[in-house]
Symmetry: C2
């Protein structure tokens, strides 16, 4: 649908916004707006300038903003830390970016009920910092944990490194206060662990990418904090060997690791060069990084010995144990710095977030190697093997001209997504559709299912005010 259904911001509307949130909290100086025109997608083509940024402090203020936006037909794009990777926080029709950075209070830690209630602008990592010493922890762990906001995690249903054992963000959201697209403030759920009173709107809202509501309070279930953990770095001669062990670990040992991360050789090599680390075993083509946590050191040791043995029996070249925080951190830094390492090679990248059935990972990775050769690009693959969630980072080779890259990428993506669909996979496991993957959604989703989604969006947001143009067009 065209953007001309929306009006542009007049000085009068700016004044009304200032009346709602206070004068210092509306940004409309063009020089200061640029940073709100993009998220972490490296490609500048996905950026779009907002006309203003508002920084509300309360649900009531957000409600007023939504009502104003509906009256005046101005699109509202909610934004957290801007660490997204699908363009979800980009105001593609201009209008207002609604920034949640001032809503950054931890409202309550309820130890008896093992729950925490927070505002959406709390940095995810802060939650566990605040819980330190309580015996409790929040199990969400996106790779951007030190910068991202919990509100964005809920909006995107963020996954991350610990999802094999703990699942994704949505599993932990028991209560939400939110402002609807028409400006109503509603409360769902609470501090209850089971709730079948009506449709599960919380789960519908989790992962709805800011198109169905703006969260103003989030209640999260906490878990007993594991008292010990260790990491295994397992080297394999082939990707197939590395991947085929993944379901076997769980079925043969009965142990569910916290994380099972996969990295191919080129990803490890790039990250090690960047970090000035050395890689052991020149013939290792694939690595698994397996985290085990548990109730005490003895239990963890018992488990990692069983899992390590299973890896050796499955043909691992070697298994290194990191059973203290320093060594664990060193190993995880290799995984965490792959992105940074490739940014040195080229900023022309497309960071894909494929998910396939676990059994299809070897075939997927082999096909990626062919695709990389065919299109003459770099495609290191790595990610959350335990979930079948593979990050394929498509990187322009330094000597490839821009025009050729621009021409190549859409063809490559189409081939990649067709492969994914054919393998029974999905084009996003945790980053979301946003506007980056919108046109590809029908490749992995039944057209009738998209129609059912559109019907919900239309029913809840009749003027299409809240984050329009994301996931699908109306």
């Amino acid at each position: 649908m065209a953007s001309n259904r929306y009006n542009t911001l007049s000085p009068s509307i700016i004044r009304q916004l200032e009346q709602i949130v206070g004068e210092g909290f509306v940004i409309y100086d063009p020089d200061k707006l640029q940073q709100y025109s993009h998220d972490e997608i490296p490609d500048p083509h996905y950026a779009h300038m907002p006309e203003a940024v508002v920084r509300p402090r309360t649900a009531r203020e957000i409600s007023e903003i939504m009502k104003l936006a509906n009256r005046e037909r101005i699109p509202i794009t909610p934004r957290g830390a801007g660490s997204g990777l699908s363009g979800g926080a980009v105001p593609i029709y201009g209008g207002i970016v609604l920034l949640c950075d001032r809503m950054n209070k931890i409202i309550e830690i309820d130890r008896e009920n093992m729950m925490i209630t927070v505002e959406p602008g709390v940095i995810t990592n802060e939650i566990n910092e605040k819980l330190s010493g309580t015996g409790l922890f929040y199990a969400g762990y996106p790779m951007s944990v030190e910068t991202c906001f919990i509100g964005g995690n809920v909006a995107e249903n963020a996954g991350g490194g610990k999802a094999v054992k703990y699942g994704v963000t949505g599993r932990y959201v028991t209560g939400l206060e939110l402002v609807t697209p028409t400006g109503k403030i509603i409360t769902l759920g609470g501090k209850v662990l089971k709730d079948v009173c009506g449709y599960n709107l919380i789960s519908l809202l989790v992962g709805s990418e800011g198109t169905l509501g703006i969260f103003t309070k989030i209640t999260l279930k906490l878990l007993p904090a594991p008292k010990a953990s260790a990491d295994l770095l397992c080297l394999f001669k082939t990707t197939r060997q590395a991947i085929s062990i993944v379901p076997k670990i769980m079925t043969s040992t009965g142990i569910t690791p916290t994380a099972i991360e996969f990295m191919d050789r080129q990803a490890v090599e790039a990250s090690c060069n960047y970090l000035n680390e050395t890689i052991p075993h020149a013939d290792a083509q694939a690595m698994l990084l397996i985290t085990i946590d548990g109730a005490d050191e003895q239990a963890v040791q018992r488990d990692y010995e069983i899992v390590g043995k299973a890896c050796m029996e499955a043909g691992a070249i070697e298994v290194f144990v990191a059973d203290n925080p320093t060594t664990s951190q060193r190993v995880w830094r290799i995984r965490q710095n792959i992105g940074e390492a490739y940014n040195l090679i080229s900023h022309d990248q497309s960071n894909e977030d494929i998910v396939v059935p676990i059994s299809a990972i070897p075939e997927f990775i082999a096909a990626m190697e062919s695709i990389a050769q065919k299109y003459d690009v770099l495609i290191p693959t790595y990610g959350h093997a335990g979930d079948g969630n593979i990050h394929a980072r498509i990187v322009k080779k330094p000597d490839c001209p821009q025009e050729k890259w621009r021409e190549t990428l859409p063809k490559l993506l189409e081939e990649l997504y067709r492969l994914v669909a054919w393998l029974g996979g999905k084009i996003s496991g945790e980053h979301g559709i946003g506007h980056k993957r919108k046109k590809y959604l029908p490749m992995v989703l039944d057209q009738n299912a998209i129609e059912l989604m559109r019907a919900i969006k239309r029913a809840w947001d009749p003027n299409n005010i809240l984050n329009p143009g994301k996931i699908f067009d109306l």
Copy 2:
């Protein structure tokens, strides 16, 4: 909305149904319809006769039935095993009951991906029977596991005995094939463990009580089967002591038990009398039944010793260990037969399915005791303490006249639900709203939230054909 918006079944429609599903699979003989007029709610006032029952075999047949029902304006009520407890499968406007009993195939066990795909009419228990020996298991465990259908579990988002550790049904549904209220066949998800491609319609459908779609294929995530388990029966002098240990077990020991079931003295006494068991310790007023499972016997023993010690330190009179299947079964039979035991006292019952924050359980149970006295009824309380999900079974005393019971119950329920709302709880944790609790829904749910639910129902089912009159009226 009145039922007169619907038409009654004509002989021509019956013939069309027979053409769709085959002649033997439409039941319209009034004598044979009676069993489809109710579920497991003991009160006959919640029953309603269907005009016909159809027993389709395929998604395509269901699609045809839905299209016919939309053309002719006939309500369709889907039904599984009929083991529900909220009237969800009761055809309150007459019309057609769509029985899923012929869709009872286990379609595929995929060991490599740790998934199983089943039809909705498979008995839940059969899933684990079929998985025996694979090292995998399905973690859903409603108390009716030996009779209920998996399709009903998904429709109600069934909870049950193992939810403390494993969560409820919805956590395990990764793929659905369903027929929409207008007769479209759609597929959602698949064998993927993460999926953020569009709104989470699977989670919206799970627990929607058959009002948004009829499931025809269900893909469930499996887990590594625990290789050992044990039960602790812990006796306490007071309910408060028993309940206050629940969050402490998890936070102080770092161990998440599989189950933490609570039973008050009168529930245990009734069940023991029924089973001809003896109860130890006449001064025990409350019991916890705690199940621990794990990767091997050693790990389980280690865990149950820690948990048992924590219970003793918190003032338990005694902790009995059941570490073999025979003893475990004996202990669980006490929990499982509470319902049957009270059926001997009176069939005039209202089985409530309250959920409150864990910290509010002692206050809730104390209030229940006052309510029981005030209204002169029996209210044994028991259930899933680890989730705050308490089954309060309101039972007429044998000497109370019917008319008085009829008069008392609505007042009692209103007082009970008001208490639940005040404690931050919900009126159903796993049984659903159906038509039994429909009028009480606004006591625990924001009116605007109900409006959002209604908007989805209207958008997806414009003629209000699929299970009308459940959860809310349109």
